[in-house]
C-alpha cells in the first residue's frame, strides 16, 4: 500500500469513529437523519459499485430492499435476529445473480426498465403468496431503536466501503473498468465480461437486501406497498448520480447534501415539498452536470492550477 492509501484508510477510520459517536453527542433528530444518511449511503455506494464502472442503471434496489424487509418480517418470530441479516444477504445475492444471468444481453434503457419490471414482478409474487397463505399484516416488534439500527447501517456502510476499496484494487475491479470503457476490448483481452458483471451485480443485491432486513424493525409494519415502493430505487439512483459514480466516495457526497436538502424542503415547504424538490432537482442537474464529484474535482484542478 502506498502512503496515500494509508492516509485515506486512516481518514476513513476517523470518519467512521466520529460517525459511530453520533448517538452520543447528537440529538435524536440528528440520529434520525443519520439513519437516513447511513441507509442511503449504503444503498447508493453499493449501487455505484456496479453501475459506476458498467454504466448500467439498475432500478432494482426496491426489489432487494423489499425482499430483505420480508426476510426479517417473516423470520423474526422463528430465528434469532442476527441470523436474519446474512440470510437476507444470501437471498439478495442469489436473486441478483439469477437476474444478472438473465439480463446479460440487455443494454442501455432496456436494462433500466427490465430491472424496474423485475422489482414490480417480485412485489406482485410476494403479495400474491401472502394472499394465498392468508398472512395477516406482518409486524416486526423488537427492542431495536434508532441507535442500534444506525450502528448496524454504519457497520454495513464500512463493509461496503471496504469491499468497494478491495474490489477497486482487484482484478475484478480492473476488469470492470475495462468493461465500462469498451466491452469489446474487454472480451478480446480475455475478460469473461458476463461473469464479472454478474458477480458485481450480486453486491448491491445483497447489500440492499441486508439494508431492508435492518430497516424492517424501524418500519414495524411490513406490507408490500411500503416495502417495495419504487420511489426508493429512483432516490438511490438520483443520489448516486448527483454525487458521482466515478469514485468510491462519490455517492456519499451526493447522499449527505441531498438528505439535508430534502429535510430542508420538507420542513419549510410542507405543502409544496414535491414542487420545490422538483425545482431543486432541475437546478442541480443543470448546474452540476458531473455531480458533486465533478464539482470537487473541478475545484481541486483550479486550486492546483492556481498554485502551479
Amino acid at each position: 500500500m502506498t502512503a496515500t492509501e494509508w492516509r485515506d484508510l486512516g481518514l476513513a477510520l476517523v470518519v467512521l469513529v466520529v460517525a459511530a459517536g453520533l448517538p452520543f453527542f447528537g440529538t435524536p433528530y440528528y440520529l434520525t437523519l443519520g439513519v437516513t444518511i447511513a441507509m442511503y449511503a449504503v444503498l447508493a455506494t453499493s449501487w455505484a459499485l456496479f453501475s459506476g464502472p458498467t454504466h448500467y442503471i439498475s432500478l432494482a434496489t426496491a426489489a432487494f430492499f423489499g425482499l430483505g424487509t420480508y426476510v426479517t418480517a417473516v423470520g423474526i418470530d422463528h430465528l434469532p435476529y442476527w441470523l436474519l441479516l446474512p440470510i437476507a444477504g444470501v437471498i439478495g445475492a442469489v436473486v441478483a445473480g439469477l437476474v444478472g444471468l438473465a439480463t446479460l444481453r440487455l443494454s442501455g434503457v432496456y436494462f433500466v426498465i427490465f430491472t424496474l419490471g423485475l422489482a414490480e414482478f417480485i412485489r406482485q409474487v410476494i403479495t400474491w403468496a401472502q394472499n394465498l397463505m392468508g398472512t395477516r399484516g406482518l409486524y416486526v416488534l423488537t427492542d431495536l431503536g434508532e441507535r442500534e439500527i444506525y450502528w448496524q447501517l454504519l457497520g454495513l456502510a464500512a463493509l461496503v466501503f471496504l469491499g468497494g476499496w478491495l474490489i477497486g484494487r482487484s482484478r475484478l475491479g480492473f476488469a470492470l473498468r475495462i468493461i465500462g470503457d469498451d466491452e469489446e476490448v474487454a472480451r478480446h483481452s480475455g475478460i469473461d465480461t458476463a461473469r464479472a458483471k454478474v458477480m458485481l451485480f450480486m453486491v448491491p443485491g445483497a447489500v440492499a437486501s441486508i439494508t431492508g432486513a435492518i430497516i424492517a424493525p424501524r418500519y414495524v409494519y411490513i406490507e408490500p406497498a411500503l416495502a417495495f415502493a419504487p420511489i426508493l430505487s429512483f432516490t438511490v439512483v438520483i443520489m448516486a448520480l448527483l454525487g458521482g459514480t466515478g469514485r468510491l466516495w462519490g455517492p456519499l457526497v451526493g447522499v449527505i447534501p441531498f438528505t439535508f436538502l430534502t429535510e430542508w424542503v420538507a420542513r419549510w415547504f410542507p405543502n409544496q415539498s414535491t414542487l420545490v424538490m422538483g425545482l431543486a432537482f432541475l437546478v442541480i442537474v443543470f448546474l452540476l452536470p458531473k455531480g458533486f464529484v465533478g464539482l470537487i474535482d473541478g475545484a481541486r484542478a483550479r486550486a492546483r492550477g492556481a498554485f502551479a
Partner: protein, 288 residues
Amino acid sequence: MDIVITGLVLGGTYALIAMGLNLQYGVARIMNLANGEILVAGAFAAFWFWTAAQLSPLLTIFLVAPVAYVVNWLIYVIILRPLVRRAKSRGQLEVDAILTTFGLGFVAVGLMLAVMGGDYFSYSYLSVPVMLFGEPYGLNRIVAFLAAVVICGALYLWLNRSRAGLAIRAIATAPASARLVGIDVPRLSARAFALGGAVTAVGGALISTFLTLDASTGVIFTLKALVIVIMGGVGDVRGTIVAALLLGLLETFVAVLIDPGLTLAAAYLLFVLILLFRPQGLFGRRTT
C-alpha cells in the same frame, strides 16, 4: 370471445397510455419519467370540464391536445434541448433525461396538488352497458378503445405515408444519418416530443372516464408505459400497439382463467420473458 374483447379493450387503454412515450423516447430520445403526470393532467382537465361545465371528455380532448402539445413543446425547447446539446454521448443524455424528467414529474405533481388538491377525481361518464355478442361492456371503455384505434391508426398512417412521418422515422432509426440527409433533427425532435405529450394527455382524458385518479397516481402510468414501450421495441408504433394488446389480452386471460391475483405478476413475467428472448423488444432493431 368475452376474454378477447375484454382483453382488446384493456389493451387499447394501454396503447393510449404508452403511445405518447414511444414517440418521445423513440424520436426525441428522452426517457420521460414525467409521462404519467402529463396523463394525469389530461385526466384532470377532463374531470374539471365535466364537473364545471358538463363538457363531454370527448370534446375536451380537442382542447387538451393543442394545449398539451404547446406545453410539451415548451418543456422540450426550454428544458430538454440544452441537455441534448450538452450530452456527449447517448448514455449521458439518458442519465440527464432520467434526472430531469424525474424532477419535472415532481414539479408537475406539486403544481397539480396546488391547483386541485389531493382528492380523487372521479366522475361517471358513459358508464352504461353496451351489448357485444350478448355480453355487456362499459361504453366508456369501448369509446376509449375506439379512440385508441383512431389515434394509433392515424399515427401509423402519418408516420408511414407522410413526408414528416418519414423524417421522424429516419430520426428514430439513425439520428446521425438523418442530419446528413438534411432533416432538421432538433426541430422535428421537439415536435415529436410535443406530439407524444399531446397523445398522452388525450389518453389521460379518455381513461379518466373509467379509472379513478388523483394527483399522485402518475407514476403508476409511467411504469406501465415504460414497460409497454420497451416490450414493443423503442421507436416503433406497431411494437407499442402489439405489446399493449398482448398485455391486455394476457391480463384478462390470467384474470379469467387462472387467478386475478396474478394478473400483474403475469404481465411483468411476460415482459421479462420477451426481453430475455428478444433483448431489443418485439419490433426493436438491434443497436450496435
